[in-house]
Symmetry: C2
């Protein structure tokens, strides 16, 4: 995996996770980087989100320090001080300013961070920084909580003769018990971006990727997506056309990262891709896609390998935006189940077999002849999901 120039990485274990797994992740840029952040829409916001929000966008960021195992959420004034302390110690140990450090936390809600352990973890991480792929992987592993697997992606591109690398790491497998929250994503590039560019690019990428996934639709208190661009690849700030090319790659990488979350949803057996076309606007398409994706009946039907058009069509029907009946058309894994507003005969066993044999369910729904469209990804609802989220008691 090619990494962007001018970054070092570390992932260490300080004991917040009782399993002994890595729980402190550090990313350091050798030079000041521009950076942007997109944060949870939840009004109950964790301390690290408050900290980051006050610092982005920026043109002089140096590092992102993250702990997993404890979300530092619902922890009041002490939580705010603990997040500040994480930044202060990272800054001090790296020889930079606290304002140059972003901080993320993920894990259990409502408990104070064990600061003695965290502080040791920060020192250990600074001491083990390196720019190898192994260092990167360890820092990506250290942000995980109940994830079954590491979530990384990268892209390479050539802009005006300059070779640019783009890499991302993410975590998340639903908002999960006991109170294990949080989607986190860090994107790093050695391209040169203005703070405005970084902000604009990240917002658009978030809209197309992490804002289009759900496991159970529970927006956590800690969701954070960050982008750093340190310009270490050389070259000038991206011009309009280069920005477009870069945006295409950033968006694709973020979608690749985002889809790994519902795939990894607790107990999930299928990734469900809901594509809506023909809506009056993208916003209306999004509302319909989210409503279909949020339906427990749709999610259990996919789990049950049941090409159940009635649940999908009726979910679209209560989403809110107008449905043009004569254009209403539904395909599931390529089988047409509903057309021109009416159910049609289809090979049910064959359609069901695609759900048995594939781990992806593609729902394509046309709701009119408008220009609006949207693709949303979610996971199915399984017996294992309910077991996981009910048996794990605080």
């Amino acid at each position: 995996m090619k990494l962007p120039k001018g970054y070092r990485f570390a992932g260490t274990a300080c004991g917040v996770k009782t399993s002994g797994a890595k729980d402190v992740s550090l990313v350091l840029s050798d030079v000041p980087a521009t950076g942007a952040g997109v944060y949870t829409q939840n009004q109950v916001v964790a301390a690290p989100v408050i900290n980051c929000r006050s610092k982005t966008p920026s043109s002089s960021l140096r590092a992102i320090i993250t702990n997993s195992g404890n979300a530092n959420a619902c922890t009041g004034e002490k939580g705010i001080q603990d997040s500040a302390r994480m930044c202060n110690l990272t800054a001090e140990t790296c020889g930079v300013e606290p304002e140059q450090i972003l901080v993320m936390s993920t894990g259990i809600i409502g408990q104070f961070l064990p600061m003695t352990a965290i502080e040791q973890g920060i020192r250990d991480s600074v001491n083990s920084l390196g720019n190898s792929e192994q260092h990167f992987l360890e820092s990506a592993d250290a942000i995980l909580t109940t994830d079954q697997s590491r979530k990384i992606a990268n892209r390479s591109l050539n802009l005006g003769g300059t070779k640019i690398e783009l890499v991302g790491m993410a975590k998340g497998a639903g908002m999960i018990g006991p109170n294990m929250a949080t989607m986190l994503c860090t994107c790093l590039t050695d391209a040169k971006l203005s703070a405005d560019q970084a902000e604009r690019l990240l917002r658009r990428a978030a809209a197309l990727s992490f804002n289009q996934i759900s496991v159970e639709g529970h927006t956590s208190t800690n969701d954070t997506m960050l982008l750093l661009a340190n310009g270490a690849a050389g070259g000038e700030e991206l011009d309009k056309q280069q920005e477009q090319v870069f945006a295409g790659q950033l968006n694709a990488m973020c979608i690749e990262l985002a889809k790994q979350i519902p795939i990894d949803g607790e107990g999930a057996s299928h990734l469900i891709e809901v594509s809506i076309t023909g809506a009056a606007s993208d916003a209306e398409a999004q509302l319909i896609a989210r409503t279909v994706a949020a339906s427990n009946l749709v999610k259990t039907a996919i789990y049950g390998e049941d090409p159940n058009w009635g649940r999908i069509v009726s979910a679209a029907g209560y989403a809110g935006p107008p449905i043009v009946h004569e254009h209403l058309r539904l395909e599931l894994n390529g089988f047409t189940l509903f057309d021109a507003g009416e159910p049609i005969a289809f090979d049910e066993p064959a359609a069901s077999a695609t759900l048995r044999d594939q781990s992806v369910a593609r729902i394509e729904l046309t709701v009119g002849d408008g220009p609006g469209n949207c693709t949303h990804w979610t996971s199915d609802l399984t017996v294992e999901y309910v077991r996981f989220n009910s048996e794990y008691s605080t």
Copy 2:
């Protein structure tokens, strides 16, 4: 059970349900009754809903004919004709006009009604009409589909010396597989109401009862709630004050009926009652209540007997309406878990024990110091729910 005067009832089996259970229900008023209807908000609307909508409110209704086992939804022009035929045949056999008949259907979506069987069922029902409690119970049973139990309630009141009876029957256990849809409710009274009064009273009752319940939030294509008032008790049309007293009883009866649905939700082990207070308005309280009630993480926590305040508070946080942190307070079955915006120490095993020992989970959440409040009822999300909705394949 006391029944309102001037109604006769029948419930018969015509074979739509392969189990042989009753599937045609008829309610006939001996004299023209005023009536009102409240219908599904789903844009994909079943034929009988289209039929009823065109006839209510009215001052001259005579009967409600209902079949279960087939929803007559997504059945196009033929479905519309079949609903009309049900009304025509009922009218003809009872010697009244088709415009005086309302029609409801519930069951599988996307299949045409087996009209030969239905027609026989209508004739049999007309022939077996009677005004005994047994007749009423049979007609209440004939509207059920996957319900585990009959859903009925009644109230008696005295208005200006006139003894008034109010009775209701309902069905529904979620929007359920395969495509088994529909909440239905019929309320009957022998009070004398104007069509306007009936409409106004029914809307308010629906808002407080059936619009405040969810199993998985899937609004079906057939949801219908009807009120008939035939004035057979004697007396004049209700005046303002009498209307208020009547409304109180109607609302209470409808809430009693509505709560029977999530209690009967497939695989449900708990009725969850979510009460929101302190919101800026009732509408905002409702949005928060619905969001908390719709959270799979809240629903699985209750199933898992887990007093998980984090899931409840964070669901309120993403509902949309403003939360005043310093007023944020949560009680679960009388235990205070969160107060003044912060989690507080509580006896976890004791709180959990109330969820183990009771089938009701009472969530009381204060979100500010405003006048808005709302109570919503839902069921928990269990392994059995997922099994039921995934294994039952079309």
